[in-house]
Symmetry: C2
DNA sequence: TTCGTCATGTAATGGGTTACATGATTAC
DNA sequence: GTAATCATGTAACCCATTACATGACGAA
């Protein structure tokens, strides 16, 4: 999750860690916090993998080697940028509409980069997501009709609110899917018009 | 989170691990999965702490000591029950309306046991939760009005949907708070009627 | 000059998941 | 008899958080 967010943001423009953190937070709508304790180690890992490189804060024309020492003493902004491998990796993630793409943790990030994603992949992910949320809705509905009358007000209230939330999400996804389909027909004319 | 859920469910009735897992899942509306890899170690920890005890599956009149061997070979259902300390611990958690009670991870569980929670504690938690969600809403609103027009359709769509969700949650909480206040006035008459 | 925020990182720790290993019971 | 589901656990791992340590820069 973090990985794709970082790759995607650095794909737009190089930037330093502190700013990256703020952008990631904004990207996901400020839902979850992102601590430096997970950001910097992630950047380090990705540098070791060769996906990103770090600009030397002293001599800005130089790139820091992946195994560079932690820069004790005088430190400055370290600007990170995607390498060719990093760009490739990001493109790969963009094309991958596999099952995990529509799970809770991933979906938000995948969606955030939909503008750079292919229509068919977008549709696969949206439909997969909808199925996922519908499953949850059906489970919740079943449990609600089973337990109603037998449980206290608060349990009922919590389950009802949960059900309303997933219902809303299903409707939202359905609208997005419909509008994607309209767009797709408008673009490639005939095939898969079902 | 897990700890309170387990204590609360065992407070209703003794049960074995497998059933406990299903109940925890139902309790939180099936939102998150709960694997045995986190349930059983949690039960083990709680047994060591003295909050719960495990019934010997062979001689059901006996209680397994906390440091009992893992029962290789023939295994049967292990029924867990709260000890006196466990009941005390649960009561303590019920009374604690501290700041973490209204954070995302805890709120669901706290709410699930509201029927056993004091009105004043309920109100504290609900109001804390509302403040928390309002903060998020305001951050989201600010970010939305800042970026609108400058971002793509999908980013906008995601942020708008997020905003709608938190708006709905604030309204839900407000309704609950109002109805709690009505109840409280009905019960203790005058003080804090503001 | 001191406070707030910008800025970079590490170490310890925690809490969870997946994958694995094992066996009992029930329904077909 | 065999498949599904009930049932109990461990071990390896992953990813994130908290707390810590350090320092630069601009504004009051």
């Amino acid at each position: 999750m973090l990985e794709m967010a970082i790759l995607g943001l650095l794909n737009e423009a190089p930037m330093h860690g502190y700013e990256l953190r703020k952008r990631v937070l904004a990207l996901l709508g400020g839902f979850r916090a992102l601590s430096y304790g997970s950001l910097y180690p992630a950047l380090k890992r990705m540098r070791e993998q060769g996906w990103i490189c770090a600009q030397d804060p002293v001599d800005t024309s130089r790139v820091l080697p992946a195994d560079a020492p932690p820069l004790t003493g005088k430190r400055g902004k370290v600007v990170y940028a995607l390498t060719a491998e990093g760009k490739e990796r990001f493109q790969g993630l963009l094309t991958d509409g596999g099952p995990e793409a529509w799970e809770d943790e991933r979906f938000g990030v995948r969606f955030a980069f939909f503008a750079q994603t292919d229509v068919d992949v977008r549709l696969r992910i949206l439909e997969g997501r909808r199925r996922r949320v519908e499953e949850r809705r059906d489970g919740l509905r079943a449990s609600l009709s089973r337990t109603r009358e037998r449980v206290d007000r608060y349990t009922l209230e919590l389950q009802q609110h949960g059900l309303d939330s997933v219902d809303r999400e299903v409707r939202w996804l359905s609208e997005l899917i419909d509008s994607e389909k309209v767009d797709r027909v408008a673009v490639d004319g005939n095939e898969n018009t079902l």
